[in-house]
C-alpha cells in the first residue's frame, strides 16, 4: 500500500508530534518519583524529607564526629548546617577530599530512625570545584572565585 504523498507527510508530522509528546509524558512520569531532592540537616530535622526515598543530604562534616566501625569499611559521621545535625552511615571508600569541617553531599535514603544511609559520598573535588549546593557555605570557595576574577 503506497499512501499518497500529502497523506504520508501528514502521518509523519503526526508521528513526530506524538513522539515529542510521548517523550515528555514518559519523562514526567519517570521524574515523579525518581528525582532525588536535596535537603539540609535542618530540613531533615524539620521533617521535610520522607523516609525510604532516594535523596541527597548536604552540609559540613562536623569536626570530631567521624568514626569507623570494626569492619574497617563502614564510617559514621554527623553532617551539620549550623542549625541541625544528621547522623550518616556510609559503607565504602570515602572520597579523597572528605575532611572533617569541610563540605559534603551524601546520596542515599533516610532510615526509619531519621539517620541517613548513604550509598555514595561526594566531596569537594579540588580547590576549584565543589557541588553548587555547597557553593554558598564555603568561604574558601568564595576566596577562590575572587582570585579568578
Amino acid at each position: 500500500m503506497i499512501a499518497r504523498p500529502k497523506h504520508q507527510r501528514m502521518v509523519l508530522v503526526i508521528l513526530a508530534v506524538a513522539a515529542v509528546l510521548g517523550a515528555a509524558l514518559l519523562a514526567m512520569w519517570g521524574l515523579k518519583d525518581r528525582a532525588a531532592y536535596f535537603y539540609t540537616p535542618a530540613d531533615v530535622v524539620a521533617g521535610k524529607a520522607s523516609t525510604g526515598k532516594a535523596m541527597r543530604l548536604g552540609g559540613m562534616v562536623e569536626r570530631g564526629s567521624v568514626q569507623r566501625d570494626e569492619d574497617g569499611v563502614t564510617t559514621r559521621f554527623l553532617v551539620e548546617d549550623g542549625e541541625a545535625r544528621v547522623l550518616v552511615t556510609y559503607r565504602g571508600i570515602l572520597p579523597d577530599l572528605f575532611r572533617e569541617g569541610s563540605g559534603v553531599v551524601a546520596e542515599g535514603k533516610l532510615a526509619a530512625d531519621r539517620s541517613f544511609i548513604a550509598n555514595n559520598i561526594l566531596a569537594k573535588h579540588d580547590e576549584r570545584y565543589m557541588p553548587p549546593e555547597l557553593g554558598n557555605q564555603s568561604a574558601e570557595h568564595k576566596a577562590g572565585q575572587t582570585l579568578r576574577q
Binding site: A16, A23, A27, G30, A35, I93, R128, E133, R148
Partner: protein
C-alpha cells in the same frame, strides 16, 4: 609576542567571518557574484583559527606564566605531554579548540563541497560564518585565552590531577570534532532551506559530515566512558552525569540523522524531517557546550562557576536555534514532496528508528535539564540519576535493538524478501537466552535480562544481511552497516553482562590476608611508597589467582602537590573473560587497609563494541568516498 599574535589572528578571523557573512547574503540575494571570495574567506578564517590555536599550544609548551591561562592551569614541573594537553584542559583553551574546529570545518566545506549548487553552498558558508562570528565574540569578550598577567607569577597553579591522564589528550578533541562537525550539517540544512530545495545531492554533500561527526562522537563517548571507568575508581562506566549526557544527546540526534540522511540520499524521501534533525543535532551540540562550559551543573567535569559566560553561550544558543527553527517553520512547507514509501520497508523501519531515538533524546534532555528548571522555578534542589534514565529510556533502547535486527533485512521500497527465515534463528536464540536468564539469574534486574537476550539474538541478526552475498562484491557501505550494528550487539552484551554478573567486595585487610571475589582469590601482600614526577603515592601489591597463574596488581592512592589533591588509581587486570578491578582505600591506622574489588565478566565488550560502531562508520565513510570519487572521475 606569541600570545599577542594568537589574539590578533582571532580578531582578524572574526572580522573575516563578518565579511564572509555579508558577502554570502549579497550572493544569495543575487546582488553580487561572490562565490570565490566567500569560499576564500572561509578557508583563510579557518587557517587563522588554527594559527591562534598553535600559538596557545606554544605558550603552554613553554609554560609562559605571564599568560593568565597558563599560570592558572599549568606548572613547570608537569610532564611535557600534559603541559601541551593542558592547553585544552580548561575553559578558554577548550573554547578556542571548539572555534578552531568550527573554522576548519567551514574551510573544508568550502574546499570539498563544490558539487553543490553555488547558492546553497554559499548560503551554507554564510550560516557557518554566522556561527563562527558568535563564538569568536564569545572568545574575545568573555573567554580570552591569551590574557596576560602583570606581574607574572613565579609558579603556576597546576592542573587538576584527574585531568593528568592520557585519556585527556584524546577525549575532548575527539568529542569536539564530533560536536562541531555537526555544525556543517546544520549550515547545509540552513543553506538549503534559504537558497533552494532539498534533494539527493544535498544529502550526498551532508552525509560525509554527519557520518564523520558521528564517528568522532561515538569514539569520544567510548573513550570518555572508559576514562571515567578507570580514573574515577567507582567501577561504573556510565554515571548519567549531565556532562556525559551533554555528549550523548548530540550522539542520539546524529545517530538518527545518519539513518535519515541515508534515506534522503537513496530514496529522496524524509526531506523536511532530515533538515529538522540536522538543526536539532547541532543544537544539541550547543546545548552540550552550554551545559559543560557554563558550569551550572553539579558534575565532576564542571570546573568553575562563571555566570557571564553561561549567559553568553545561552544567548548564542537561543539566537541560532530560534533562527533555524523559524526558518524551518517558514520553509519546510515549501519543500517539494519527498518520495512516498511502503508501510513495511527499510524506509519505514528507519522512520521508527528515528522516532525511538527522538523519544530517547527527549527523555535524556528533560532528565538532564529538569534539575535546572526546577531550581530556577521553585528554588528546589534535586538531581536526576540512573534510576530515572534506566527505567524510562532503557525499555525504549531494547525496542530500538529489536528494530535493529529487523530493519536492515527489509529492502528499500518494501519489495518482499524472505526475512522471516533469516530472523528465525536469532529470535530462537534470544528467546532461549531470556528463559535461561530468568531461571538462572533471579537477582539480576529485568533490564539486564532483556539486555542479555537482545545481545544474544542481535549477534547473529546483525550479520544476517551478509548471508547469501558474495563478500567480495558486497559494497563497503553494507560492510560498514553490518560492523556498526554488530558493535551495538557487542556493546549491549557488555553492558548487560556487567550489570548481571558483576561481583563486588568491600573489605579492610592486613598485609598477608586474602579476599575472595567471584572466582578470584586476591592476596594483599603489602603497601609501599612510590613517587612520580609531581606526585607521591602509597601502592599496594595484590596477587590475584583463580586456579592457574597469578596476576599482580598495583592500585595506588596518589597525592599531588600542585594543586594539593589525592586521587585513587585503580589497578585493572584485563583478561579475555573480563576485568578484575581493584581500588586501594584508606588505612585505619592499625595496619588494615580498605580494598574495593570487582570481578566484571565481559565488561570490556562495552568499549570494544563502541570501537566497532566507530569502525563500521569509518568503513561506510570510505565506501561513500570511493563511490563519490568514481562518480567524479566518470563525469
Amino acid at each position: 609576542m606569541t600570545p599577542e599574535a594568537g589574539l590578533a589572528a582571532l580578531w582578524l578571523a572574526a572580522a573575516l567571518s563578518l565579511l564572509g557573512l555579508f558577502l554570502s547574503v549579497l550572493h544569495v540575494r543575487g546582488k553580487v557574484e561572490a562565490d570565490r571570495p566567500v569560499r576564500g574567506l572561509a578557508i583563510v578564517q579557518g587557517l587563522l583559527c588554527l594559527f591562534a590555536f598553535a600559538m596557545l599550544l606554544t605558550v603552554f609548551a613553554q609554560t609562559d606564566l605571564s599568560v593568565a591561562l597558563v599560570a592558572e592551569n599549568s606548572h613547570s614541573a608537569k610532564p611535557f605531554i600534559y603541559k601541551v594537553a593542558g592547553a585544552w584542559g580548561n575553559h578558554e583553551g577548550s573554547m578556542l579548540l571548539w572555534v578552531t574546529v568550527l573554522g576548519l570545518s567551514g574551510a573544508a566545506l568550502a574546499i570539498f563541497s563544490r558539487r553543490l549548487p553555488s547558492r546553497i553552498l554559499i548560503a551554507a558558508l554564510g550560516a557557518q560564518a554566522a556561527l563562527a562570528l558568535g563564538f569568536h565574540a564569545f572568545l574575545l569578550f568573555a573567554s580570552n585565552p591569551f590574557a596576560r598577567l602583570n606581574p607574572a607569577p613565579v609558579e603556576g597553579r597546576g592542573l587538576n590531577p584527574l585531568l593528568q591522564d592520557p585519556g585527556l589528550a584524546f577525549h575532548p578533541p575527539t568529542l569536539y570534532l564530533g560536536y562541531v562537525g555537526l555544525s556543517v550539517a546544520f549550515s547545509l540544512a540552513v543553506g538549503a532551506m534559504l537558497a533552494g530545495d532539498v534533494d539527493r545531492s544535498l544529502a550526498r554533500a551532508m552525509r560525509p559530515w554527519v557520518l564523520g561527526a558521528w564517528i568522532f562522537l561515538t569514539l569520544g563517548i567510548t573513550a570518555g566512558s572508559y576514562w571515567a571507568y578507570y580514573e574515577l575508581g567507582w567501577g561504573g562506566w556510565w554515571f548519567w552525569d549531565p556532562v556525559e549526557n551533554a555528549s550523548l544527546m548530540p550522539w542520539l540526534a546524529a545517530t538518527a540523522l545518519v539513518h535519515s540522511v541515508a534515506v534522503l540520499a537513496s530514496r529522496n524521501a524524509l526531506k523536511a524531517w532530515t533538515m529538522m534533525l540536522a538543526v536539532i543535532a547541532f543544537s544539541m551540540s550547543m546545548v552540550g557546550t552550554f551545559l559543560v562550559r557554563s558550569g551550572i551543573l553539579t558534575s565532576v567535569h564542571s570546573f568553575a562557576v562563571d555566570p557571564t559566560r553561561g549567559a553568553f553561550i545561552l544567548a548564542l544558543l537561543g539566537i541560532y536555534v530560534t533562527a533555524a527553527f523559524v526558518l524551518f517553520a517558514v520553509r519546510a512547507g515549501n519543500l517539494r514532496e519527498g518520495a512516498p514509501f511502503e508501510l513495511v520497508s527499510r524506509e519505514a523501519a528507519i522512520v521508527v528508528n528515528n522516532l525511538l531515538l527522538t523519544v530517547i533524546l527527549g527523555i535524556v534532555f528533560i532528565g538532564t535539564l529538569y534539575p535546572l528548571i526546577a531550581e530556577a522555578l521553585s528554588g528546589e534542589k534535586l538531581s536526576v540519576g540512573a534510576p530515572y534514565f534506566n527505567a524510562v529510556a532503557g525499555p525504549l533502547a531494547i525496542l530500538l535493538g529489536i528494530l535493529l535486527a529487523v530493519g536492515p533485512l527489509l529492502s528499500w521500497r518494501g519489495e518482499s524478501r524472505a526475512i522471516m527465515r533469516k530472523l528465525a534463528l536469532p529470535a530462537l536464540i534470544a528467546a532461549t537466552t531470556l528463559v535461561i536468564a530468568i531461571l538462572a539469574l533471579p537477582q539480576a534486574g529485568l533490564l539486564s535480562k532483556f539486555g542479555l537476550a537482545l545481545a544474544a539474538g542481535l549477534l547473529p541478526a546483525a550479520i544476517a544481511p551478509l548471508t547469501g552475498r558474495n563478500p567480495l562484491h558486497t559494497p563497503l557501505m553494507t560492510w560498514g552497516m553490518v560492523i556498526a550494528h554488530l558493535g551495538v550487539a557487542v556493546a549491549i552484551a557488555g553492558m548487560a553482562s556487567d550489570s548481571a554478573f558483576t561481583v563486588e567486595k568491600l573489605t579492610a585487610v592486613k598485609p598477608g590476608e586474602s579476599v575472595n571475589v567471584g572466582p578470584w582469590l586476591v592476596r594483599f601482600e603489602n603497601v609501599s611508597p612510590v613517587g612520580g614526577p609531581n606526585w607521591t603515592a602509597v601502592e599496594a601489591e595484590l596477587r590475584a589467582s583463580r586456579g592457574g597463574g597469578v596476576h599482580v596488581l598495583h592500585p595506588q592512592s596518589r597525592f599531588f602537590t600542585d594543586p594539593p589533591t589525592e586521587t585513587n588509581e585503580a589497578a585493572i587486570e584485563t583478561l579475555m573473560s573480563g576485568q578484575l578491578y581493584t581500588v586501594l582505600g584508606k588505612s585505619d591506622g592499625e595496619g588494615r587497609w580498605q580494598l574495593r574489588l570487582w570481578w566484571k565478566p565481559l565488561v570490556t565488550l562495552i568499549w570494544f563494541g563502541g570501537v566497532l560502531i566507530g569502525l563500521g562508520g569509518l568503513i561506510a565513510f570510505l565506501g561513500h568516498a570511493r563511490r563519490s570519487w568514481r562518480r567524479k572521475a566518470f563525469e
